[in-house]
Amino acid sequence: MTSVAGAHVAPPLAHHTTTGLDHRKIAVWAFIGSECMLFGSLISTYLIYKGRSVVGPFPHAAWTSPAGQVFKPILNIPVTSVSTFVLLMSSLFMVLALAAVENKGARGNEGVLGSSKVWLLATALAGMTFLGFQAYEFTTFVHEGLTIRTNLFGTTFFTLTGFHGAHVAVGVLWLLSLLVIDLKRGLGPRDAIIVDIAALYWHFVDVVWILIFTLVYLIR
């Protein structure tokens, strides 16, 4: 694959503002800023209630109920590490999709690795795989006795990771919409901005997971 840099020809349908910047990109950054505060509040709530659950199951410690039932630590770090890896790779696929759109038609950008369709599909599939891991995790937790009503850990954990999962689901739908457009009429350099704002949203979902993985799963 050739250099990703370059190919920044002004799109004919660009919506520029007095700042000279595309207003859709300004809007998506403002939206991401507001999302920082949303996830900041959810993560704060999780951390404030961390370690205050009266009954188990607990995230990192075993627990024996008054009835004598033994619950092992509920978090499955190996499975979550794999899903984290998948989400990190999806961000790489996303930048390659954007680069493929920006450089469409350029010399050296031919072939499968220069195809925006391939990278958009790969990103969406990685997002769906992450959601599959999350569905598996939630189902396992419920079977092991942890629901959103069991204890403070369950309430804050399901709320935080559930909100993040919903954002991933929206991102997957967004990516699939772009893929359909690409399949129908093709995405080229003039469409780079619409792929760029989808990419910004997708990377934001990724950085939120970077925080959640460390703060919720790894720090005891």
């Binding site: 920044h8 700042t19 990109k25 950054w29 991401i32 900041g40 704060s44 961000s91 993985f213």
Partner: protein, 104 residues
Amino acid sequence: MSTTRDDATHEPAHPTWPQYRWVALWLVVLTVLEVWAYYMPAFVASRAFLPSLLAMMAAKFSIVVAFYMHLKYDHRLFRKLFLGPLVIAGVTMVAFLLLLKARA
């Protein structure tokens, strides 16, 4: 790497494919280090555990925002739109933690 800005469009150049590959590699390496640290009982018990995990988390966060979200190369208005709320969220988070954890 080119960081020049096209004055007509205000669109900066983005990182190159080898840079994206290095970014992905660093993200994977840092994640592996985090998980490795989690499984080292002696390290978990040490005072370095929490700061090192937070440092690796911050490094991964910064790398994605700077390179994948192009904030390092993009217009400074985008930086302000992102970092302003991020700082507010961070300060609020620390304030709540100090207030409410102290009462526990």
